[in-house]
Amino acid sequence: MPPVIKAAGLRKNYDELRAVDGIDFEINRGECFGLLGPNGAGKTTTVKMLTCALPVSGGDITVEGMSVNTDPRGIKYILGVCPQDVNLDPDFSVLKNLIVYSRYFDIPYAEARRRAEELIERFHLHDKLERPIEDLSGGLKKRLLMARALINRPKVLVLDEPTTGLDPQSRRQIWEEVRGMKSNGLTTLLTTHYIEEAELLCDRLVIIDAGKIIEQGTPAQLIEKHLEGKGNLEDVFLKLTGKHLRDE
């Protein structure tokens, strides 16, 4: 089976800075694929190129055979995107956020309403239906972002640091959801700098640093290769990316 997502020689320059410096990876159908790296590694930049929010500086990335360079709209119809920065519409309530967002995918109102109610149930948002976004806690905002990402019944889910800044309870809840979606066969790209999260959720992962892939494999393979099976993925990560602090 051909891969669902394929990045080849993907690059992004911000002026002088090579934020993404020629990376290649493939994501298979139904797989949860991790993009692991310290802050500033280039995870979000990669995600933004995949979701057609940023033009690529070089190389290509395709989704179901469609290239971001030539068919961004076709790609955007089948992606569900949960961005790192909360960009819910502050002018609308919880319910209205879902309804208005569904319009962008040509979903008719009655259907949008049905799907919104389903997602509200699933993500435990019902007592907040009419609340303005600013009243929601961080965990609720992330849950709403996740619900929003699913409103168009995507074929591919993109989660950019879905649990950063959340308390352990909210984090666990998001993990449950990701696991559930995986068992439903949804292909997922997950970025994180929480190693335990990658270890728990990802079938395969790449570790990137300074815009380059420095290691890849299944969590077990990486632990075997670098630590002879003794230790956890976090030790592998620190061994590969070094212990110095990242400022952003």
């Binding site: 911000y14 979701t51 057609c52 929010a53 940023l54 033009p55 971001v68 360079n69 961004p72 709209r73 955007k76 119809y77 992606l79 995107v81 961005p83 920065d85 960009n87 819910l88 519409d89 502050p90 002018d91 609308f92 209205k96 208005v100 967002y101 319009r103 962008y104 995918f105 040509d106 168009n152």
Partner: protein, 264 residues
Amino acid sequence: MNNPCLLKNISYRAWYMWRRNVDVSLVTWKTNVLPPLLEPVLYILAFGIGLGAYVQQISYAGQAYNYIAFMAPGMVAVGIMFHSTFDTMYGAFVRLRYQKTFDAIITTPLSAEDILAGEILSGATKGTFAGAAILLIITLFGLAAYPSSLVILPLAALAGVMFASFGLYFAALAPYIDNLNLPIFLFINPMFLFSGTFFPLDGMPVWVRFAANLLPLTHLVNLTRAATFNRLHAGLLWDLLYIMVLTAVMACIAIRKMKTRLIK
């Protein structure tokens, strides 16, 4: 995505952006409806009745008019300008920089051009609504002739697109929200005062008239005044042409410029 042709990337989806902005306006409808209805009443009281007590008659195209009647169509034009320019200038700036609204929508099937065309259309809608509201008020004061005044409605939509495009362009140029004071000071306020809104340009020195004729508002005022006075004539087609050309040019420039801020 990098298609240089603007029109090719604009689709029916621009209406989804328009609907989003209209939905927001409906949530806060009181603050959107009252100003265009109350502002002209204030102007009529201050300028019409206050100033009108000193300047009773004013000559326009060889005929004498009440000062209030002279000023009323200027207010309609100014209302269209203010409401559509400010809607995109501040609204789009806030949605771009603070609310990250565009960041969320750009990953849906809307293109950057769809989003920005939708912004211009909703700004134009606000301007048209304001123009219609002010027209209603001056009609109640008996200051607009009919049916000629009805041409103001499609005209407001056209000029609304033009001014909303200016607003979007200014928003695209400004690094910080405070920078938006500059176009207000250099462009909006001079137009407000010197476009034949409050006094006729006929008696002015040649260079003043020349400068005023570069300002888009002057041409809109020419048209709205001829409409409320029931004095429409073929010569006004030049004003219309000027507005149409500037509208097309500004819409393209504004979308192109703002797109570079939306996707870097």
